[in-house]
């Protein structure tokens, strides 16, 4: 098993290399890394920067230098803040990882529950209602959902209930300058996680429903019924586990898409994660951050896919490595 993990991880390296090169190249051709320096009144500054980034050499060489530095843990220095990019990314990634973990967990839980319930009541009123909701969730621009959620669940609710503080926070992950895993933190997570996951909850629940319906029609379910397995055990022990398998793959693929959602969510909820780092860096054309950002994000997605592969192997004995 361990060698399998190692091999899969190793296999991801070339993908990461090519992805990082593409990201690097793309940012280089689109974002001028000297833009900010050019506003400085020091004419030598641009020349110094050009030399440091080897802008006069081919992109491949620049990339090579970048990789060499990156392997030493040096992802460059932000043009905007002068801070080491690696430090900025570490900070942002930690915040975003929290969002993604909570988001994925909550979304999976809700989606599976809804999907299973719908599948068991397939064709019923509840199923139709949940299907309609899912379609609405899919059709809703996520930022739109987030803004409405803030207005209704935070602002209006606060006023109606006459609270001095909103029930759900929507600025950052803590109120004031708090920190740590507290009730306050959870209250701040609710709205961003909802916004981040509204689309995927809808999608996953639809997927889970379909997969569950299919599994419920599988011959082994009939076999289990024929031996007298009661319904509850049938659903949990036989149907659910099999129906979860395909969802795992879909979830992994969607983590990449979630990164898009993170950009919007963090923007709306003022959360200092990868999304906001990206938006801020893009606005000022902070090339070093943008390069590192795309590469790290790609690595994150690759890692997520890897985890999903391994999870799939763990869940499904048919593909379990020996």
């Amino acid at each position: 098993m361990l060698t399998f993990v190692a091999r899969r991880a190793l296999a991801a390296v070339p993908v990461l290399l090519v992805a990082s090169f593409l990201s690097f190249w793309f940012v280089r051709v689109t974002v001028d890394p000297t833009a900010k320096v050019r506003q400085s009144r020091d004419p030598q500054a641009v020349a110094r920067l050009r030399e440091r980034l080897r802008l006069d050499e081919p992109v491949v060489v620049q990339y090579g230098v970048w990789v060499r530095d990156a392997l030493r843990g040096d992802l460059g220095t932000s043009e905007r803040t002068g801070e080491p990019v690696s430090r900025m990314l570490r900070r942002a990634l930690w915040t975003t990882t929290q969002l993604l973990l909570w988001g994925t967990a909550a979304a999976a839980l809700v989606a599976v529950a809804v999907g299973v319930y719908s599948a068991l009541r397939a064709g019923g009123v509840a199923d139709h209602l949940l299907t309609t909701l899912a379609f609405l969730g899919l059709a809703m621009p996520p930022f739109w959902f987030g803004l409405l959620a803030i207005q209704i669940l935070a602002v209006d609710l606060t006023r109606w209930l006459g609270l001095s503080e909103p029930l759900f926070g929507f600025v950052g992950l803590h109120s004031g300058d708090g920190s740590g895993f507290t009730l306050d933190y959870l209250r701040h997570l609710v709205l961003p996680v909802m916004t981040l996951t509204v689309g995927i909850v809808a999608e996953w629940s639809r997927f889970q429903r379909a997969s569950m319906v299919e599994v419920l029609a599988a011959p082994y379910i009939r076999t289990a019924r024929a031996k007298g397995v009661p319904r509850s055990r049938l659903v949990v022990r036989h149907a659910l586990r099999n129906a979860l398998l395909p969802l795992v793959t879909v979830m992994a693929l969607d983590v990449g898409l979630l990164f898009g959602g993170v950009i919007v969510t963090e923007q709306i909820f003022s959360i200092p994660g990868m999304g906001r780092l990206f938006v801020e860096s893009l606005r000022v054309g902070d090339a070093p951050v943008l390069v590192a950002w795309t590469v790290v994000t790609a690595a994150f997605v690759i890692a997520a896919n890897l985890v999903a592969d391994l999870a799939y192997g763990f869940l499904d004995p048919r593909v379990r490595p020996r």
Binding site: D32, A35, K36, R38, Q39, S40, R41, D42, P43, A45, R80, T81, G82, E83, M88, R91, A92, T95, L147, I150, Q151, A154, V155, T158, R159, S164, E165, P166, G169, F170, V171, G172, L173, H174, S175, G176, D177, E266, Q267, I268, F269, S270, I271, P272, G273, R276, V279, L282, R283, V284, G285
Partner: protein, 561 residues
């Protein structure tokens, strides 16, 4: 000459950071006398305030100089400066800060200008080390010798800083320098004993724990700045136990945060929907809206580019634009109905002549001027000359909805006047980093923001400051303005010590610039503040130091915020 650059830099950084650039006003209400510990009351309560942007870094004399929100959230509270800004007799003026024991003295010695500051003996850093003339000297050297210093203007004219007496700072200039009041004010004074021999930029960039002001600031990147009282502060102690600036990423969230009282005060950009929200009735909220700002939002015209390389076309352009309609539409509900008529911002109004008042929408004048310039027009079609269409590309920074809307109004007005107008917005970095310096634009909409009371337009309108080989392409005259008659007056404003002469020169320059219609000032970009009524204290705008500069004097009704 130097303030303008600071200002311009400020404007750039500010605009870069997406914003309309405000910087603050109305020290009003007779806030805090210079010094002397008042009756000590126990500091109580935590106040959470909204900050619209996060500063990029806290290196106030280096790469992050002029960052408006950096100034408002950290710098004013921690860096000692020689002047505060108060409105006296209806005019914004510098007053000595608690750092000084009295007003600085300006004298002449051996034909050189000498400024003497006498320091308040109680002034000390948060570690107890007294603030001395050595710190002034260190600050001067740090600016002059520093590598990434954004603006050395003024400091580079200092010949020496005498620190022989720790309590007396004697600054000797190489030549006369009218704008000396900006020195050690915008940049403040840095602690020599903490920074000497170290990489200052590195030490300060991510925030610092020392202070020479009422608060000690702790900056949590991305989330907040927390101010706690500086126990060694020699002035009246802060009345609050803690002040937190939460960074808000979007203006929509900003208002909701205030509405739900997640934050208790905000200082928002005057976006359109903001206007609606500010004017809504909320009995729990207090507000100010002021046009007395250091801002001038203008249509900056490239004087080198067809068709605006012809003064008559520029004038026609000015007559084609209905500035009043635009200002009324944008800010009418805030009570702002009149465009600004000078490039000197409202807080420098005594240096300003309402020279652009002449340009009011007038289709007839447009017609006359265009024909005089050799343009012809068929019916509703655009003006043409030698087969070339009078086409205008209007540019502003992407992401600013109000400015984008403004351009849409302009587009419509220009179309009617016979100009073919296109909108080509650019990311701030591109606009300020590339297109403006290279002259690769036609008409750009952005604001200049001034954080000093000293006037000075030469840096943006003198011909010698057109970016080019002579000034290492570092000039700030992006509009390529060449009005030879105006240049002497503009230069004089920078050096003239006599106030009356200076005012006269400035007004004359205004007239000449308006005559040549080098660019078209639009509006003063009002400053807006909203706060919960439970906040007590002198809450008001300060056009130089921002709304929160005296937050140490704020408290909450009943100690609860």
């Amino acid at each position: 000459m130097r303030r303008w650059t600071t200002m311009v830099t400020g404007a750039l950084v500010c605009a870069l950071a997406l914003g309309a650039c405000s910087s603050s006003g109305e020290g009003g209400n007779g806030a805090g006398g210079p010094s002397g510990p008042g009756p000590t009351r126990k500091a109580a309560g935590t106040l959470v305030l909204g900050a619209e942007q996060e500063p990029d870094c806290a290196d106030w004399i280096g790469s992050c100089a002029g960052s408006a929100w950096g100034l408002w959230t950290i710098q004013v509270h921690t860096i000692p400066r020689v002047f505060d800004y108060r409105k006296q007799a209806g005019v914004w003026t510098e007053v000595p800060s608690p750092l000084l024991a009295g007003a600085p003295e300006v004298s002449e010695r051996d034909g050189k200008q000498v400024v003497t500051y006498r320091l308040n003996p109680a002034a000390r850093w948060s570690d107890g080390t007294p603030i001395t003339s050595a710190d002034f000297r260190f600050t001067w050297r740090a600016v002059v010798d520093g590598e990434d210093i954004y603006d050395k203007t003024g400091y580079d004219l200092i010949e020496s800083v005498d620190d022989s007496d720790p309590r007396t700072v004697v600054v000797t200039f190489r030549e006369r320098y009218a704008s000396w009041r900006g020195l050690f004010a915008a940049y403040g004074v840095l602690p020599r004993h903490l920074l000497e021999g170290k990489d200052r930029a590195e030490e300060m960039a991510d925030g610092y724990e020392w202070s020479g002001g009422p608060w000690i600031a702790r900056w949590r990147k991305g989330e907040s700045v927390t101010l706690t009282p500086n126990p060694r502060w020699w002035g009246p102690p802060p009345k609050l136990a803690k002040v937190v600036f939460k960074f808000l990423a979007s203006s929509a969230a900003e208002f909701k945060a205030f509405e739900s009282r997640t934050v208790k005060a905000i200082y928002p950009q005057p976006q359109l929907e903001v206007v609606g929200k500010v004017t809504r009735r909320d009995p729990q909220a207090r507000r100010f809206v002021t046009t007395e700002t250091g801002n001038v939002e203008a249509l900056w015209v490239n004087n080198d580019r067809f068709p605006f390389d012809d003064v008559r076309v520029r004038q026609a352009f000015a007559y084609a634009v209905d500035r009043e309609a635009i200002v009324r539409r944008l800010f009418g509900r805030l009570g702002v109905t009149e465009p600004v008529h000078s490039f000197n911002p409202p807080i420098q109004s005594r240096y300003a002549a309402p020279a652009f008042e002449r340009y009011r929408a007038d289709p007839r004048r447009v017609e006359e001027l265009m024909r005089a310039a050799g343009f012809r027009r068929d019916g509703d079609g655009p003006w043409r000359k030698d087969g070339r269409v009078a086409e205008v590309v209007l540019t502003t920074t992407t992401g600013n909805k109000r400015r984008e809307l403004t351009l849409q109004i302009l587009q419509e007005q220009l179309r009617r006047a016979g100009f073919r107008a296109r909108i080509g917005n650019l990311p701030p970095a591109d606009l300020f980093g590339e297109h403006l310096p290279n002259g690769d634009f036609q008409v750009a909409l952005y604001a200049q923001v001034v954080t000093t009371l000293d006037p000075g337009l030469c840096v943006v309108f003198c011909a010698k400051n057109i970016p080019g080989p002579d000034n290492d392409h570092s000039g700030q005259n992006f509009t390529r303005t060449r009005v030879p008659e105006a240049d002497p007056f503009l230069e004089r404003v920078d050096v003239e010590a006599d106030e009356q002469e200076r005012i006269a020169a400035s007004k004359r320059a205004d007239e000449l610039l308006a005559e040549a219609m080098v660019s078209l000032p639009l509006d003063p970009l009002p400053n807006i503040g909203l706060w919960d009524r439970r906040i007590e204290g002198p809450v008001a705008d300060n056009p130089v130091l921002g709304m929160f500069w005296n937050v140490h004097e704020w408290r909450c009704r009943g100690g609860r915020c």
